[in-house]
């Protein structure tokens, strides 16, 4: 069965500290990996996708196929990074994402 695990419900850091939001997945085949973000009172939106090898707002995510992980990282957290983050692997012809339960990131000043 497809499963995605975000072990931390809440992650609290101070501004300027490094941050890592963990994501582990269990999927048949080779899924595509995505991170979505929801800022306070805003819509859910795509943050980044593995296939594009992109860095968005200073965030990067490395795929580790051996550990089946896709952790989201940022070297220096900013207050505006405070949000809910969802890891979402997807597979199949329509690439419908399976969302984790989310990690709430709070960056303190």
């Amino acid at each position: 069965a497809q499963r995605v695990t975000q072990p931390e419900k809440l992650l609290s850091v101070f501004k300027g500290a490094p941050v890592e939001l963990k994501c582990n997945y269990s999927y048949s085949g080779s899924p595509e990996l995505f991170w979505y973000v929801q800022y306070s009172r805003q819509r859910l939106q795509l943050l980044l996708r593995h296939i594009s090898r992109e860095s968005i707002k200073g965030f990067t995510a490395d795929l580790n196929k051996g550990e089946t992980s896709f952790h989201l990282k940022k070297p220096f957290a900013q207050e505006e990074d405070s949000a809910m983050y969802y890891c979402a692997p997807s597979a199949g012809g329509s690439y419908i994402p399976t969302f984790g339960r989310g990690t709430s990131l709070i960056v303190h000043p």
Binding site: R43, L44, R49, Y95, I96, P97, F99
Partner: protein, 115 residues
């Protein structure tokens, strides 16, 4: 241009009532998705349309849930005989097409509360 819109934004229903939730996707977007998000959880897939064709409805939790997109644009999610466990935020998303490079754009959601 306008993003995905959903109406109503909030809906309170008595148990046993039928409800209809509407989604207006971005114009020209072929693919449309419905998700259910319970409190404290991530969105869970319900169903997916490509134009007017419902290609996947594996996530619909029971036969009380029905979705349609008759003209390949606006979609309606209908829940019959609502139960308390149906209380959730219902999200709609649309994308230009399918595939890993096609970004899903989400609506603001409809918060359904069943009393």
């Amino acid at each position: 241009g306008a993003g995905v819109s959903q109406s109503p934004r909030y809906k309170v229903a008595k148990r046993g009532q039928d409800v209809a939730l509407r989604c207006d996707p971005i114009s020209g977007h072929v693919s449309l998705f419905w998700y259910q998000q319970a409190l404290g959880q991530g969105p869970e897939f319900l169903t997916y349309f490509q134009n007017e064709a419902q290609l996947d409805k594996s996530g619909l939790p029971s036969d009380r849930f029905f979705a349609e997109r008759p003209e390949g644009s606006v979609s309606t999610l209908k829940i019959q005989r609502t139960q308390q466990e149906d209380s959730a935020v219902y999200l709609c998303a649309s994308s230009l097409s399918t595939g890993p490079l096609n970004e899903q754009f989400f609506g603001p959601g409809t918060r359904l509360t069943v009393l």
